[in-house]
């Protein structure tokens, strides 16, 4: 199955004559030049990306970079000027009016920064709105709405009006309303930006928890890098209407493609976002349990290492062997490595955050200076050394005063 959502070379020009601007040399000029000379705003410039089914795709950028324009174009709330938006392989820009209405009803759910709730309707009727416009029977839609009110934890508030709810609760209603028709894709335009930090974090966690269960395809807009890193499996960074970089959170953090992205990421507490994977190296010396001490000595000698990792035939870590132990056994003529294996004092999971690596090692005496890194299934994938842990600790300390960061 192909990707859920594909956006290809999408352009949006605001102004009286967008096509004229697009089919002239202005197409290649900067946004400011075009605005000054023609009064047209190039709000989206040749944006392309793909979102896999069940993935959370975050679009991040400063105010005015065209994020809202982008999501609105994906639903054709704003008509794009040029390009393709494919959902399940179908180009929604080719949809007739009727198809478009059906697409919005059945496939898409949207959550707005300023909630966009209907002030004259109760919570329950707001949540049921999407089903109501579809013509779903009243009993059925209210039952479904009730379910979702409970999913977002608002039971007891069904018959209240939105203006009596706090911001966080209103956005829960917004979320429930978007989920009620069980859409395939969820579009969220800065859903938590209007909330105070504490509530925002709570809502983020809640959405992550929901997403664990629902596995919707989500397009999530934000201007907050912390939020982007927390929510996104992939992140695209926008500037002046164009996507300047996209990739996994780690790629964005560790290899910013230009100054603009670097500027975003410089204040981020990397230790809270990056995992051990980003600092580990491939394992130095690897020996299999069936090899003899002689082979182990040879390998360690070759690599000039004091220590070898021993793995089974599935590459799962069994333990470590020191050079001293192996060479003594080899002198004695022992043929078995098995009894030389000792447990590594610490085993680091590859997906652990750097923060937890630091807490893990804070009491460690570093009697052995290399630690094995394993996957969740126990496979050895790398090692971390004392020196790199120290670097991480120093970097984290240097950023301490700035934390916690949320760039506005």
């Amino acid at each position: 199955m192909g990707p859920k959502l594909v956006v290809r070379n999408l352009w949006k020009v605001f102004g009286p004559h967008p096509q004229q601007v697009l089919h002239s040399e202005w197409r290649h000029k900067s946004r400011n030049e075009v605005l000054q000379a023609t009064g047209h705003v190039i709000a989206l410039r040749d944006t392309s990306f793909e979102v896999a089914d069940g993935q959370t795709f975050v679009v991040m950028g400063l105010s005015g970079s065209g994020k809202s324009t982008l999501v609105r174009c994906l639903l054709r709330l704003i008509e794009p000027s040029e390009g393709q938006v494919l959902i399940n392989g179908q180009d929604i820009l080719g949809f007739h009016h009727h198809q478009l209405i059906q697409f919005r009803r059945k496939m898409a759910g949207m959550v707005f920064q300023r909630f966009g709730l209907l002030p004259h309707r109760t919570v329950l009727d707001n949540v049921a709105f999407g089903l109501e416009v579809q013509g779903v029977d009243k009993k059925v839609r209210l039952k479904r709405a009730q379910e979702l009110v409970e999913v977002v934890g608002l039971q007891g508030w069904e018959h209240s009006y939105p203006s009596t709810l706090s911001g966080g609760m209103q956005q829960r209603v917004g979320l429930a309303r978007a989920l009620a028709p069980d859409p395939e894709v969820l579009f969220m335009d800065e859903p938590f930006s209007a909330l105070d930090p504490l509530i925002r974090r709570e809502m983020q966690d809640e959405l992550l928890r929901l997403q664990e269960r629902l596995r919707k395809t989500i397009i999530f807009i934000t201007h907050d890098l912390q939020e982007a890193l927390k929510m996104g499996e992939r992140i695209a960074i926008m500037r002046d209407g164009a996507i300047v970089q996209q990739g996994t959170p780690e790629e964005i953090l560790t290899a910013p493609s230009d100054e603009y992205v670097g500027e975003f990421t410089k204040d981020v507490r990397k230790a809270a976002v990056l995992t051990v994977r980003s600092v580990m190296r491939p394992p130095g010396v690897l020996v299999s349990a069936w090899q003899g001490p002689r082979a182990a000595v040879h390998a360690m000698h070759q690599a000039e290492e004091e220590l070898a990792f021993v793995v089974d035939k599935h590459e799962r870590l069994l333990g470590i062997v020191t050079f001293k132990a192996a060479s003594e056994a080899a002198m004695k003529g022992s043929a078995c490595l098995q009894e030389l294996i000792t447990k590594s004092p610490l085993v680091v999971p590859a997906d652990a955050l750097l923060e937890s690596l630091l807490t893990m090692t804070v009491d460690y005496d570093w009697s052995i200076e290399v630690l094995p890194v394993v996957e969740a299934d126990g496979r050895l994938v790398g090692e971390v050394r004392r020196a790199s842990v120290r670097d991480v600790a120093l970097a984290a300390k240097a950023q301490q005063p700035a934390a916690p960061v949320s760039p506005q």
């Binding site: 639903l75 709330l77 209405i101 059906q102 697409f103 919005r104 009803r105 059945k106 898409a108 759910g109 949207m110 707005f112 300023r114 909630f115 966009g116 709730l117 209907l118 002030p119 004259h120 109760t122 709105f129 999407g130 109501e132 416009v133 579809q134 018959h159 209240s160 009006y161 203006s163 009596t164 309303r177 028709p181 579009f187």
Partner: protein, 366 residues
């Protein structure tokens, strides 16, 4: 404080006399303007200052025009006979109305008849047939529900006063006309307002018509109505409708346009069609504005009812009219009081309804 530029000297090609005149004129102008420049008066004279700073040729043209018009006053005081189109226009309108009278006669007659027989008369008969104490009771109840005890008390008192002054039946007749015209005005005005809100083109087309309708003296409506419908109740109703419809059109339009764009966008995002958007989002949220428009429309209808009594619409207006015509001051005053009483009651109650629509959204239901 910026000083005015000194006057530009006039070139030698102009006569010295003109030069001197211009210089003196502009200089004294500047002096006069500068004199008030530091007082609050300066805001008043800002345009005059601008005039002082105008280039020479503007002054020349202005002077020429003034002199020219004074000189030619006698010659073209009256517009040339050939340009006088007034009589032609009025004759064309006359012919148009004649044509309508001839060709639409059947349609107009049946409209007249239908409105009269199936709406206005039954309504009037029913209202007049109500006992005054029942009306007082109902009004008190409604006023109590929508505005509160004080207004309920006052309204009851006023209805009793109406009955005591012997105006009750006339008031009910007037009410029947007001209700009929208001229903028609709403039926006509709300869709027009919606069309204006949905299309800027319609908005631009209808707006000047509304402006015109609202600046026209109310009597003017009577003339074409008499031509088309003759005299009587229905012509009265038609004149009232046209006189009273602008506010509800305007406020429906305004109300819909003022609905939060974010809420409308949300509606669209969930796949609402244009009609669904209108019925489920825009109209409910525009309702307070529409109600305010309705209130104004009712008030204007009441005012117009007096005027339409001149073309035979019965009710309190006739009392006022007769009072004036026969110089029976007391009679006219009573009619006037009756209308004021109706105005107060209708105004308070409809305003109360309009206000009720708003707090409903901010309180917890049930």
């Amino acid at each position: 404080m910026t000083q005015l530029r000194p006057p530009v000297t006039v070139g030698p090609e102009q006569g010295p006399a003109l030069t001197r005149f211009l210089r003196v004129a502009r200089k004294s102008w500047s002096a006069a303007v500068n004199a008030v420049d530091n007082t609050p008066l300066k805001y008043v004279v800002a345009p005059l200052r601008a005039a002082a700073a105008m280039p020479r040729w503007v002054w020349l043209v202005a002077i020429a025009l003034t002199l020219g018009s004074v000189w030619s006053f006698g010659a073209i005081a009256n517009i040339p006979q050939g340009m006088l189109v007034g009589p032609t226009v009025s004759r064309a309108v006359d012919r148009g109305v004649d044509w309508m009278v001839v060709n639409w006669d059947v349609a107009l007659r049946s409209l007249n008849f239908a409105l009269l027989q199936h709406f206005l008369l039954p309504l009037e008969r029913w209202l007049v047939g109500l006992p005054w104490w029942l009306v007082a009771g109902v009004v008190a109840l409604v006023a109590y529900r929508v505005t509160g005890p004080i207004m309920a008390f006052l309204a009851t008192g006023m209805i009793v006063a109406l009955a005591a002054l012997g105006l009750f039946d006339l008031a009910m007749t007037t009410l029947a006309i007001v209700i009929t015209s208001t229903v028609l005005a709403v039926a006509l005005g709300v869709p027009t307002g919606i069309a204006m809100a949905k299309s800027n083109l319609v908005d631009q087309a209808v707006r000047p018509v509304l402006d015109l309708m609202q600046t026209m003296p109310s009597f003017v409506y009577l003339i074409p109505v008499i031509m088309l419908f003759g005299i009587g109740k229905v012509p009265g109703v038609i004149a009232v409708v046209f006189y009273a419809v602008p506010p509800i059109i305007r406020l429906t339009n305004l109300g819909i346009r003022q609905v939060d764009a974010g809420v409308v966008e949300a509606g669209r995002a969930f796949g609402a069609t244009g009609t669904q958007l209108l019925l489920k989002v825009q109209l409910p949220l525009a309702l307070p504005a529409v109600m305010a428009g309705l209130n104004q429309t009712i008030m204007m209808a009441l005012a117009m009812v007096v005027v339409t009594s001149m073309i035979g619409a019965p009710g309190l207006g006739v009392e006022v009219l007769n009072g004036i015509a026969r110089l029976e001051v007391g009679r006219g005053l009573l009619g006037g009081i009756g209308i004021v009483i109706m105005a107060i009651i209708l105004d308070r109650i409809t305003q109360g309804f309009a206000k009720q629509r708003q707090p409903a959204r901010t309180t917890v239901a049930r």
